[in-house]
């Protein structure tokens, strides 16, 4: 860690940090953690460093990555969406139900997945802004409701197996050798990144998360913005559900169990503030990759389950600690 502890180090380092923060929109610290982890895995396993393994990691990161994009938008606005994982499960079941059980055309699987996700998010947003119930409670309620509905739709609580080929392609295809989910993740992340970092919508989201009163006073329609954010978050959970469903070729009502926590963790590792006002989509992606690389490495090394849990917990704390060092400095300077 001494390499990163730079308190008192010269201006050049600080300027570099600033460059990454403001121009690349990723914290230098997160990138260093990711790089160190990759170096460690390369040393430990000869199978780690290869294009195909890198694609594996990206593929394994795709669902969590898409969820983390939603989590970043919500956390940036000082909100919270605990229903991401359950909505993922519901979307997959809804899509599979329409196309497999009801035998509707293949595109209904896509519309069903995305639509049910967006609907769940829309309901979250309406409840939060109209009833003034805290987001924590509303989305926790939706966590239960979405899971319950998924289990009811799925026959006997089991999975709906065997999707149309085109839909499966979204999970298992490899256009130009790149897995489709990875393509979807990258495109979604680029769009979301530009929206959060460069659009009015994004700037208003950050301002609202930073100081809601100030945002309202300058004329930003914070309630409408909040509703839109939760609907988008739900839509992204639906997209993650679509990817998951297509990858495993089934609508599984238990899919995405506790994924919201993993997604929020990735987001925090990537430098997004738990309390709003600061958020980075690319950072969240780096955070998700840190967890993906770690998991991939642990699998390649065939590390036993209890030790895996310890390693994941430890890396999480270290990664956020390193990020903290920077905020600490900011407060002092």
């Amino acid at each position: 860690m001494t390499a990163i502890d730079t308190a008192g180090r010269g201006d050049a380092w600080r300027r570099l940090q600033f460059f990454f923060d403001s121009k690349v929109h990723v914290r230098l610290e997160s990138l260093i953690v990711l790089a160190l982890l990759c170096v460690a895995m390369t040393v430990l396993s000869p199978y780690f460093l290869s294009v195909s393994n890198f694609l594996n990691i990206l593929l394994a990161t795709s669902t969590i990555g898409v969820l983390a994009i939603g989590a970043t938008l919500i956390l940036s606005s000082a909100g919270l969406d605990l229903s991401l994982g359950s909505v993922l499960g519901l979307s997959g079941v809804a899509g599979a139900y329409l196309s497999v059980e009801l035998e509707w055309p293949w595109f209904m699987a896509i519309i069903g997945a995305l639509g049910s996700g967006a609907l769940a998010g829309y309901i979250n947003g309406q409840l939060i802004t109209r009833t003034r119930i805290p987001a924590f409670i509303v989305t926790l309620g939706m966590l239960g409701i979405a899971r319950g509905v998924a289990l009811i739709i799925a026959p006997n609580g089991g999975a709906i197996y065997g999707l149309p080929d085109i839909v499966v392609y979204l999970g298992q295809g490899r256009p130009f050798g790149v897995p489709t989910p990875v393509v979807i993740l990258v495109l979604t992340a680029l769009i979301a990144h530009y929206v959060l970092a460069y659009s009015r919508f994004g700037m208003h989201t950050l301002a609202m998360g930073d100081n809601e009163g100030a945002a309202r006073a300058t004329g930003i329609p914070v309630e409408r913005l909040r509703r839109e954010l939760y609907a988008i978050s739900g839509l992204l959970a639906g997209l993650a559900g679509l990817i998951f469903m297509a990858r495993v070729n089934a609508g599984d009502p238990t899919a995405g169990y506790t994924y919201e926590l993993t997604a929020i963790t990735a987001t925090i590792i990537g430098g997004t503030s738990l309390f709003g006002g600061r958020g980075s989509i690319l950072g969240a992606l780096v955070g998700a990759l840190i967890m993906g690389v770690l998991q991939n490495g642990l699998n390649l090394l065939a590390v036993q389950s209890y030790y895996q849990q310890i390693a994941i917990g430890a890396v999480l704390i270290i990664a956020v600690y390193i990020d903290q060092l920077q905020s600490e400095r900011e407060r002092k300077s």
Binding site: F18, Y198, R216, T218, G277
Partner: protein, 246 residues
């Protein structure tokens, strides 16, 4: 020319009646001091003018138009700006983002995507505004939370002045400032008046109020207690109205 007309405005929070039928008119190109005890209702009255609070009764007209039903953004667009006592800045955003909050200039990203913020223009305009205020700020790319209280106040003032306001309400703008900064704020207020902007200054520092205003209005327990020409009154009289000794 009457710019702002407040007629019989009332407002309560729960059981607390904060404003009891306030009447107030403001002329363009004048500076009005609004004074009163803590909790007199000064900030609340101003927030009903900017649209942050609705009213329970009465009417507010600006430039002859009724303001009822307009949100803060729409009122800003008509030329009402306020520097809030409590709702200042988004601390983690930079200077330009704060100055242009809610009004970011847009362009088409890559020529195809609408709604993208023109950061270059924002930065340039923000820098111009800060320079015009003669303020010293370390870097306009820093989060404003890293600035001193006075520097933050400058950013808030810059926000109020950037969009050609007709009425600027300043709620305790000098409370956090050093002597030199106070002077420059007062100078700025005179400058605004000369440009034909109406200013409402809320301050507990009566010296500043006497120095820069044309007129002093005293608010007491949600009512207008007195409306005085600055040149024809004295500190002692104003204090008397504030504490209710008259």
């Amino acid at each position: 020319m009457t710019l702002l007309e407040v007629k019989a405005v009332a407002k309560h929070f729960g059981a607390v009646q904060v404003l009891n039928g306030v009447d107030l008119t403001i002329e363009a190109g004048t500076v009005t001091g609004l004074v009163g005890d803590n909790g007199a209702g000064k900030s609340t009255l101003m927030k009903t003018i900017t649209g942050l609070y609705g009213t329970d009764g009465g009417e507010i007209r600006f430039d002859g138009k009724p303001m009822t039903g307009l949100n803060p953004g729409q009122r800003r667009a008509l030329g009402i700006e306020m520097i809030y006592q409590d709702l200042a800045l988004a601390r983690q955003q930079d200077v330009a983002a704060n100055i242009f909050l809610g009004r970011e200039p847009v362009k088409w990203a890559f020529g195809i995507l609408p709604g993208f913020v023109d950061k270059a223009k924002m930065d340039a305009d923000a820098r111009k505004m800060i320079d015009r205020l003669g303020a010293r700020i370390p870097s306009i790319h820093r989060p404003v939370g890293m600035f001193s209280g006075g520097q933050q106040q400058t950013v808030a003032i810059a926000r109020a002045l950037t969009f050609n306001p007709k009425l600027v309400i300043m709620d305790e703008p000098t409370a956090a400032l050093a002597v030199r900064e106070v002077e420059s704020v007062l100078k700025l207020i005179r400058q605004m008046r000369d440009e034909g902007i109406a200013v409402i200054l809320i301050s507990h520092r009566l010296n500043d109020v006497f120095e820069v205003t044309d007129r002093i209005v005293v608010l007491r327990q949600g009512r207008i207690e007195a409306d005085l020409q600055t040149g024809k009154t004295q500190m002692r009289e104003v204090v008397g109205y504030i504490v209710g000794a008259h």
